[in-house]
Symmetry: C2
Subunit: 332 residues, 2 copies
């Protein structure tokens, strides 16, 4: 195997010392460091010719910065089943990483006992300058360890504190859901149902919280159901359903229409952005869109801030209202 070039090699070729190569490479001019222009040029020429780059490992051992941003996901990034979920985030991440001149390191190696884990016996999480965390839910112990070990990271998606505040770039589900309820109330709806877990992941909890706040504020009735049962909704006199999962909402619309019910005439259906499963695209649901791409971009920016200023950015981006065709005034 062709051995990797070292600064020592470059130094030999340029007829200088390893230290000089390092100084040239890092453009050091401060603190009484001086390199003659010709020497500098000679070293740079050798570097250019050989395509030498500093070994990130050695560099990182000494100080911390190698313009590598880590991306951790609990599942494979590429398989097409996950593509719809991860892809928009990754587009944003890639875009912004390109902007700030960083490379992306996908932690595909990190697994312990068959499952991916952030901290395995030889976690390479520290290879990167910092790390982005992607996934609907994140292991709380992992999160706590990241915080306590002071590893620079930003979660994509809001996270509750885990032994300390967790830096994140999330979506403002609370406001987004409240807004949908507001619109529905304005159209005359008074009987609401929220369909979905509403618990577990922060993203679920936030949506349900927004729902509860809104129905309380308007003094209307709001029911929380883990699953969408058309009969049950009808029996309870529900006129507007908010579905966490897009595909569940779409299924509900199809089921309703199959039984001769009109949507939104008899039932309004609103989707709350979560598309973890492929959904039929022939149903134009009303609801909101999660700004996934933008979240990816912002997360990279936030991570940059963490690295440069040691801050703990926490930010929620607004979701975009999607007009659709499944929200309308309820029949009297």
């Amino acid at each position: 195997m062709a051995k990797r070039l070292t600064q020592q090699d470059i130094a030999r070729m340029a007829g200088v010392s390893q230290a000089t190569v390092s100084l040239v490479l890092n453009n050091r001019t401060d603190g009484g460091v001086r390199i003659a222009p010709e020497t500098r040029a000679r070293v740079l020429e050798v570097i250019r010719r050989t395509g030498y780059v500093a070994n990130p490992i050695a560099r990182r051992l000494h100080d911390q910065r190698n313009r590598i941003l880590g991306v951790f996901t609990y599942e494979a990034v590429f398989p097409s089943t996950r593509a719809d979920f991860y892809q928009p985030f990754l587009e944003g991440i890639e875009e912004q990483a390109e902007e700030v001149g960083c490379d992306l390191l996908l932690f595909t190696s990190a697994k312990a006992g068959g499952k991916r884990r952030i901290f395995s016996d030889d976690s390479r999480i520290r290879l990167a300058d910092g790390c982005l965390l992607l996934g609907r839910s994140v292991d709380r112990d992992d999160l706590a360890q990241l915080v306590s070990e002071g590893i620079p990271f930003v979660s994509i998606g809001r996270r509750d504190d885990a032994g300390g505040p967790v830096p994140h770039v999330g979506a403002d589900y609370v406001s987004a859901v409240r807004d949908l309820v507001d619109r529905a109330v304005a159209l005359g709806h008074r009987e609401f149902a929220y369909v979905g877990a509403g618990t577990g992941a922060e993203s679920s909890a936030d949506r349900l919280r927004g729902f509860k706040q809104a129905v309380a504020a308007h003094g209307v009735r709001g029911t929380h159901l883990p699953f969408a049962g058309l009969e049950r909704l009808r029996d309870a006199g529900i006129t507007a359903v908010l579905s966490e999962e897009v595909s569940d909402g779409a299924a509900l619309v199809l089921a309703a229409r199959e039984r001769g019910l009109s949507v939104p005439g008899d039932l309004s259906v609103l989707m709350l952005g979560a598309a973890t499963r492929p959904a039929p695209d022939d149903v134009a649901l009303t609801g909101f869109r999660i700004p996934r791409r933008e979240m990816g971009r912002r997360a990279v920016q936030a991570l940059t801030e963490v690295l440069e200023r040691g801050t703990t950015p926490r930010e929620l981006l607004a979701c975009e209202f999607v007009e659709g065709t499944t929200l309308g005034a309820p029949r009297r």
Copy 2:
């Protein structure tokens, strides 16, 4: 932030040397290394109590392997327009990288003058242990430089020599196209057309070569046309068309049917796997499928070999015949 524990710290606490801690940690018993059970227990106890974990950076520095595989593409990987093309390869790459315990480094930082380049003034290609090259065509100068600099890499897709053999894992287009012609000849076809560039990228050239070999072997007529014109095909008495691009093939079928021609009755259309553009999915073309995912996997394995044994693997994987509905016996 609390400073990380080092082996030195552990050693102090356990009243032994750093070396001993390392030996205990790695369970070394070979090569005349012996640690008294009590000492071992004492060290392990301190490790347990403190929750010490070895710094992976330092470890990597020592064993000269970063366990990072680079992935270079001339365009962004994630944007959905490219997804169909890159994704299957990446699935395979990710899968196999996980298998061999390597992380993936996406070179998002590499650009010079707006475009991504492998070698810019500060190329970071050497950050990775080795590199996978992805893309329909690859800049020949870049390729030559990779070869001459002895950078470990594997191209996905066959490549002609560039100042030396280029390690690659490609698809066996020559055989695949020949096979299609064989089948068509067996059904009675005697007038063939190949539609597509047939030049430029190796993948195009290989297909055309397979076509020419096959028509020569069977003593039938074969014409090469850069574009598919239905009239021209008819005028020339063509009964079987092989289309490089899947979408071109599909368009041809639709056009033929629109003019009242039967496919495959009046015209057989075969697709040669290249799907760089989205194609209508309501046409079940006969042809072959490029084993993209498998190519990704094999490429990672090949790169591993390059790294471990310094070989220059070159391998072509068989394409899979796709039955479809657009190949049949020609009308008399």
